[in-house]
């Protein structure tokens, strides 16, 4: 019996060893970006922090594809080849959960070749994770976290390419009250830093403009039962329902409200701007709903067509989701900064503490044209591009309704 056990143990140990070699023994999975790194090339890693299995998965997977496109293009560029650098994406599935996000951040920080993070999606995840990145000299560029608090922490390594809630919420209110003519609203949020911030900014501006907020209510981002709330909304009879939150709960609220006979459309922020919203709510129920999202529609931008074509070539089966272009831009900012530092200090110095400091400074000082418009950062790391577009569901798809002036 004893001998058998020992043999079993040996076999198990061998199996574990083999499987560790096979998976590269890394903390995270590495994404195949199309090209095998050349033997002498130095692999610089970029973390992708996004919800990939839980939470707003459609948005998270889109972010991964956007950044993946940027990385595969960078690896084909003459500049990277000349410097002997290949970029590698490392997936970090934060599940839209702050605790998991910090674990992901620590896994990223334990990788000596990882210099930057493209992420995260949820403000609630980005804020705690950003501390880890700052402490470990990893530059972070979020494509989608819009809570103002993220960049108010005074972290030199933390940046974002999207406009904040205090820009988006008021623009939503102006669209709703001024241009679309809704006079009364019920404001609901999902109790996350993103949803709360957005809903509060919207409600403040809506009342300032002279609109009436009938009542405000908190729900949870994991809730699926809104019937009691819908009954309350029905009794209040508003012109509009404003929802601060992500599409997966927002769509269910829209569906239940519509099924219960509430005529008022639902409006939300960029968290709703995804085809999944219409898919989950049902095309009929979602028809006429609104959302605001950051920047201009991709097809209205000079580099948009080029981006769409390259995206379709690499991911023929996927639609471009809300943050794909932002993720592409965010990854490109990190790549550009890394290449600039490598050129100046040598490819080997990129991962050293000095090199990391130089990358952090280079990202903050970046200025260029992205797919989403001009990109540059202010002293807090916020984008200087503050355009917000209002979209509406028209015959089962999001269509730009009000463009920024």
């Amino acid at each position: 019996m004893k001998v058998r056990n020992r043999r079993l143990l040996a076999i198990m140990a061998a199996l574990v060893a083999v499987s560790m070699i096979a998976t590269g023994c890394g903390g995270g999975e590495t994404t195949d970006t199309g090209e095998e790194p050349a033997a002498e090339a130095m692999a610089i890693k970029i973390g992708i922090g996004a919800p990939l299995t839980q939470g707003a998965v459609a948005l998270g997977q889109g972010m991964k594809r956007g950044a993946g496109l940027a990385i595969s293009q960078a690896n084909e560029s003459a500049e990277a080849k000349e410097l002997g650098i290949t970029f590698q994406a490392v997936d970090g599935d934060d599940q839209g959960d702050p605790k998991t996000g910090v674990t992901v951040a620590n896994t990223f920080a334990s990788d000596p070749n990882l210099v930057g993070v493209m992420g995260h999606l949820n403000s609630g995840v980005s804020i705690p994770a950003s501390k880890v990145y700052q402490d470990n000299k990893i530059v972070m560029v979020s494509p989608a976290s819009t809570n103002p608090a993220l960049t108010l922490q005074g972290f030199s390594a933390v940046n974002r390419v999207c406009a904040t809630d205090d820009v988006q919420g008021p623009v939503g209110a102006e669209s709703a009250f001024g241009k679309l003519g809704f006079k009364s609203v019920v404001v609901i949020d999902d109790s996350t830093p993103y949803g709360e911030g957005l809903a509060a900014e919207f409600a403040k501006k809506f009342e300032e403009l002279g609109g009436k907020v009938l009542f405000t209510e908190k729900t949870s981002d994991k809730d699926s039962d809104f019937n009691a709330l819908v009954t309350k909304i029905k009794a209040a009879n508003p012109d509009l329902i404003y929802y601060g939150g992500i599409y997966n709960a927002g769509a269910i609220l829209a569906k239940q409200a519509s099924d219960a006979g509430v005529k008022a459309p639902l409006m939300g922020g960029d968290g709703l701007y995804d085809g999944e919203y219409i898919n989950l709510a049902g095309a009929e129920q979602a028809e006429g709903d609104f959302c605001t999202s950051i920047g201009l529609p991709v097809d209205k931008l000079p580099k948009g067509q080029e981006f769409s074509a390259a995206y379709k070539a690499l991911f023929p089966n996927d639609e471009i989701a809300a943050y794909d272009a932002y993720s592409y831009d965010a990854a490109n900012v990190i790549i550009a900064a890394t290449l600039a530092v490598a050129k100046e200090m040598g490819a080997d110095a990129v991962t050293s503490p000095e090199g990391r400091d130089a990358i952090i400074a280079a990202v903050r000082g970046f200025s260029g044209e992205g797919v989403t418009g001009p990109i540059s950062f202010d002293e807090n790391g916020d984008t200087t591009n503050k355009a917000i577009t209002t979209y509406k569901v028209v015959s089962g798809a999001w269509a730009a309704e009000i463009l920024p002036e």
Binding site: T53, V57, E217, K218, S220, A228, L229, K232, N248, A281
Partner: protein, 314 residues
């Protein structure tokens, strides 16, 4: 809507929700009654039922399926469709429950009481991840073929066809199960096993059969609740089982765990309290209210609403 209409509407929402809680709570209470074990994988039976139902609905109404027109074309076809969907889902998940009992709980039946509990948590996580990997990680929309227009109108309050169906089906199933347990021979055997497993075995009752039966009925009812949940809220996701599972467990404890009628009473009480709390205080507080009541009941009536006070055996 007048305020009286709002109260009636919230009560109706609560009864619908309570019907689903009661169906799930029965699974917890049946297993606990017989094995004195809390089956934490039961919330995944509920989730699995919703997925099996979704698969059936999509398959039967797909245009490539020969009889799809029959199922979506007429009222009779629709009724047939739903009967098939519920039956297949309940049967499949019932069998899954029996298999899980055989593989994960029976080998641990004589182990310390903590072991099957941990095994149940393991099964729950296993099933969640299996669905995540096999189906999809994102939420899927649930097709609804019932008209959404209200079936019953009381003042400004309305009850939809689906709500009526949920309330009716859950009450019917609860009544059938109650009759089965209290009137039939097998029901008597189940009650005997619940009272004293060893003695019941000595009297010639096949204990393994009785336990397997409990693990069939509970998950089958959970699966029905899962399909209702999918239709009512319009979406399914692999992690959907957790919150209704924990709420139904609460309902079972509230009514007195191990007591079937208690589980039903607990389910409806919880559903109504939650809806009224969400409607008149705040949606954000609905869980606080539900669990606050649980704590109060447990402090003042430790056995639950219908629980019997346990006499200390000396």
């Amino acid at each position: 809507m007048s305020s009286a209409d709002v109260i009636i509407q919230q009560l109706m929402n609560g009864v619908t929700l309570g019907g689903m809680y009661a169906l799930i709570a029965l699974g917890y209470t049946l297993v606990y009654g017989i094995l004195l074990m809390i089956n934490f994988a039961h919330s995944e039976m509920f989730m699995g039922g919703a997925y099996v139902g979704l698969g059936m609905l999509l398959w039967l109404t797909n245009e490539s399926f020969p009889a799809s027109e029959f199922f979506t074309g007429s009222t009779f076809g629709l009724i047939a469709l739903y009967v098939i969907v519920f039956a297949v889902s309940a049967l499949a998940i019932g069998v899954l429950g029996v298999v899980i009992e055989r593989l994960a709980y029976r080998p641990l039946r004589h182990a310390p009481r903590l072991a099957p509990l941990i095994s149940a948590i393991g099964v729950s996580i296993f099933l969640q991840n299996a669905v995540l990997l096999w189906v999809d990680s994102k939420a899927l929309p649930y097709p609804m073929f019932f008209p959404v227009k209200p079936a019953i109108t009381i003042g400004g309050a309305t009850l939809s066809t689906l709500q009526l169906l949920i309330i009716g089906t859950s009450l019917a199933l609860l009544f059938i199960l109650d009759t089965f347990i209290s009137r039939t021979k097998i029901g008597k055997a189940m009650r005997a096993t619940s009272q004293d497993r060893e003695a019941a075995g000595l009297m010639g009752i096949n204990i393994n059969y009785i336990i397997a039966l409990a693990f069939f009925i509970g998950p089958a009812l959970g699966a029905v609740a899962g399909v209702f949940h999918g239709m009512y809220y319009g979406t399914v996701v692999f992690s959907m089982g957790f919150i209704p599972g924990i709420k139904s467990f609460t309902a079972a404890v509230l009514g007195g765990i191990g007591n079937l009628r208690g589980a039903m009473l607990g389910g409806f009480t919880l559903g109504i309290v939650e809806s009224l709390g969400a409607g008149f205080l705040s949606t954000g507080y609905k869980d606080v209210i539900a669990f606050g009541i649980l704590i109060l009941v447990l402090i003042f009536r430790p056995g639950g609403l219908l629980g019997e006070s346990v006499v200390e055996k000396v």
